[in-house]
Symmetry: C5
Subunit: 284 residues, 5 copies
């Protein structure tokens, strides 16, 4: 995630960041402008066509298209923000579980192991949502315990954490009372892991992606036909601007829809991981 | 569910997938274009009618229609996404329950049975939401236990799971403390099953479906009357385009509203079932 | 609730169901058309008024009115869908409670009573949300127990269920551990009953209903003044169409706002009651 | 809250209820009409100005203003509906807690006290959200117990309820198991009290209120400048109508934003209090 | 937070509060007006350009821009309101925990300590979300206990609270039953702390901020080109007004997006802290 000051207008307007939509769309914008110029030349200077003004049509379709794009933006943003909430819950629940574990009498070695495993769980979840976990980055201890478990690494680590917690409590009279006490926190990790996997694996339905792209395409490429009669060569920047706005919105939605990568708009899971590590180490 | 790369614009724009709305609507689009041509011929070349421009009316109604379609899209998408969340919860809770069961001392045979029954429960739920469960695809053991239970198969399996869990804990001193510990996970299966049944059985209210289709119909078929005076035969592609956009949105909403089938836009419940099976088998 | 196939376009467009908004509005539509014709006659043929085009005003107000109607539709639909969710929770929680009760050792007679009482609770809630409960339709046993309890019947039945559950557990060592285990399910019935009562008793705020109806009225009845200058007698179908669309949306919202009745768009609480009855009888 | 039949269109359209926005805005509407007439006289008859049509500007700004007003309406309605849900939860949880308390063995006097205190809690919360609690309306018993507690009366009552519940359970072996059993219900009262206080004390951010009112003001009072050229004295009803619609929406939002008073649109907390009282007295 | 009467229209319209968007934007508004005047001079009086009307383009783009701004406003407001809810939960849960702690027998000194620590936790969270906690403002006792804990002060205080609660319950037979009873309240503090940190640290995605500012900039600065042909020097107030409305909405969203500071629109966390302090001191 890029850190930025949202109130620095001039910088944001004139700085062309690597991940800036404008920079990404520049070839497209120029292409559309050229295409419009070509249509303008054909219609006005070559064929001398006498179309009537069709801007009304593009108003009508532009309206429904805008609403679809806002629907698209909303659903992509919801996904991004849900991902952020899940990682926020990761912070809250690792803290809460460690605070609780810390107060349980005895087993200080097992408690240290659980802390390490929790940190590895967060790390493994982060990598699992990118390109898969590189086992070598995990703790040596965790790696040994994971020996026969390679498919879903975070799930494997959570299985070991459950074993360790059971071990910690095995001689306690009220061991399952304590399990009930720890239950919410422990259970939540499965919800976080599963929730992130869900967001990663389920983009918006195929047909919507198809439909939106087709409608934008038809909308932009039929636009010059009517507009060049009205505005002549001035239609080039106009169509290019509308192309920038409409395609830009779709592009932004695509970018934030899968928020666990390392792009400029992705969630700062690396930073969150470090915060968690630091926090847990401060508790005990 | 079709897997696709949402960033591959050209492919999505020019590939006419079997489930593509454009392909499905092609006959309709051509029909509307022909109808418009016919109206154009009647008005302009035969009766030489001198209507005034009525595009303002279609702007006005088009606006409220667009907003209704966005409402429709939102409510259909919410249904689809809620279905996805319920199946995500299926993943999370089968994992969580198995992790917990695995740590309970003793009864390893019963624990294996519970795992098998959980897998069958997921399978039965998946099929129950389609055309009903084919008992033959279930485990032999499960089938024997289900002998007298044929109406709601997943509910029957869950009844057996409850029996098995009670059996597993029967000689434990703190059996109901453990039941409380397992309660959230066990209970959630009833919420998932019921939630999916709710989505499947309740489309948007009858009157909305009726109303939307009627308004779209009137909207599209009165459109040529005013438009052919303004645009002549050019009204054909215009009306066809608007038909494509408006009817397409309604069609997409219909498609994703019932997300448990095997259509291109339906949820990948088969894949999710396989993930669950694999995950549970890795835990023990 | 009417069962229908949402994909059967032609049938839905041309079938004039009893609860169809079009049929309900037909007198209004004709009235508005006549009124417009009368205005057209007065303005164009009698007074020969020379108004300027005021369609721009109706565009402006039409826009904000559409957005209000969408807000109205959203809030009515949310109510309908929340009602559906509450009845879905009724299904889930009666199932879940019965599964749990079934596994508790001993007291098979009391358990059968609880099942009967649960079925009566669902039935009483359903009727309570319509015209009040006819005590005669309840089980004889339930009626005897309800003797001194006539104000809120479902609440009375739930009181008896609590008594029966306490009775069932009274000689158990861990009776309140079991109560905690059953707590979520038992408590949820109060949330469902109260939630449905809330939806039934609270329509959208009085002033909104008043305001929306007034604005629609002024909007529709000032429309002919400007439109008949522009479109002559053609304004009749135009104004009638706009009347149909705008008043139709308000009417649909009114219909689904109170979803517990027996209208075509109301929730299928009768069917849900039968499902619950069948499900509980299959569990034991 | 005013009880009304939402389907009685004619009554709602022509009845000018005391709290009707139309009646409240009447002076404003007449004022705006006079102002427009004055501008019309100045521009058309005195200065004979020759402005161009500026309706396009008011369309553009009107659009964004409408969307802001819908945002405003949504957030105000959400507040109103959340307040209703909190009072619904008050109904559900007093019922649920009383059902549970009723089944606890022994202490019938303390149980009667708890019931009285619950009723006083609901009453005190209702008054606390208006002008503060008049201690004299509370039960004599409650008043004595509250002797040294005057700042937040409902919180004080809840403190006494906690004392009474502890007293009720003090000789029970499993007293804290029972506390866990009652926990959800008891705890919810703090959430309800705090939630209502939050809604009451936090209107939408200051700047939004300021901004919306300024934009509406500029919008309405610049409108005649362009409109009187186009429509002459007919601009008076037009501008007055638009004033009614836009200011009406803002006014309605203001009215329902703080829903705990005794205005026509406020929540029926008095009725709800009576329902609760009646229900609790029926349980035992 | 500024306290204000939302119904005092005239005051709100004519009072130019320090934090008023209008006052903040005044230089910008004047700048845009001058720029438009300059363009008007160039086009109309110097170059005598004969552009065609381009207001249709600004309508089209203005529409999609409005919808994006509403999306922006919604997401910023959701953040603000979620922050308010979290601080509301802070009120509810400190009250609820103190009510419960108060009823636990024995350890009155430890109970007093816990109360002090809770107040310090709220204070530290408030400051932590601004510029970091000044340790000197905390209780001497808390400071001593925090000796080796300086990174996340609220987390450190919560760790001490957990120690104190364990200490309070250490000789109780059912200590972990009581922990389960207190669990919801204790755990919620981690959710509140983490939730506030999440809102503070995560503005809307970088690309959206960039994109919106770029589109607004292009929109406003291309507007005079077409408008001065249509309206001459009258375009100056028109463009300035549109600048005020569009940039104002973005500015308001920026202001409320990070709601924990001390600006006019920020949440009243200082007042809430005082309420909590007062409430806890009244409980015991």
């Amino acid at each position: 995630m890029v850190s930025y000051n949202p109130k620095d207008w001039w910088k944001l307007i004139f700085d062309f960041h690597k991940s800036d939509t404008f920079r990404q769309l520049l070839p497209g914008i120029l292409g559309v402008a050229l295409f419009t110029a070509f249509v303008a030349f054909l219609e006005n200077d070559y064929f001398h066509v006498t179309f009537k003004n069709t801007t009304v049509i593009h108003s009508l379709v532009g309206f429904v298209l805008s609403m679809l794009l806002v629907f698209r933006t909303n659903s992509a943003y919801d996904r991004w923000w849900e991902g952020r909430k899940l990682w926020g819950a990761m912070v809250n629940n690792t803290r809460s579980l460690t605070l609780k574990i810390n107060q349980i009498e005895g087993g200080s070695e097992i408690k240290a192991d659980i802390k390490l495993l929790l940190i590895d769980f967060v790390y493994a979840t982060k990598e699992h949502l990118r390109n898969g976990v590189n086992l070598k980055s995990l703790n040596q201890k965790t790696r040994d315990l994971l020996a026969e478990y390679h498919d879903n690494i975070p799930l494997g680590i959570m299985n070991i954490i459950h074993q360790k917690v059971t071990l910690l409590l095995q001689n306690h009279d009220d061991s399952y009372m304590k399990m009930v006490y720890l239950n919410d926190d422990l259970k939540s990790f499965m919800d976080i892991l599963g929730g992130c996997e869900r967001i990663k694996k389920t983009p918006i339905p195929f047909s919507y992606s198809l439909f939106l792209k087709k409608v934008i395409f038809i909308y932009i490429f039929t636009m010059p036909i009517g507009f060049v009669r009205e505005f002549g060569y001035w239609a080039c920047p106009i169509v290019a601007l509308i192309f920038y706005v409409f395609v830009g919105i779709e592009l932004l939605a695509e970018e934030i829809e899968d928020p666990f990568g390392t792009d400029a708009n992705d969630l700062p899971t690396d930073t969150i991981f470090n915060t968690i590590k630091q926090n847990l180490n401060q508790i005990f």
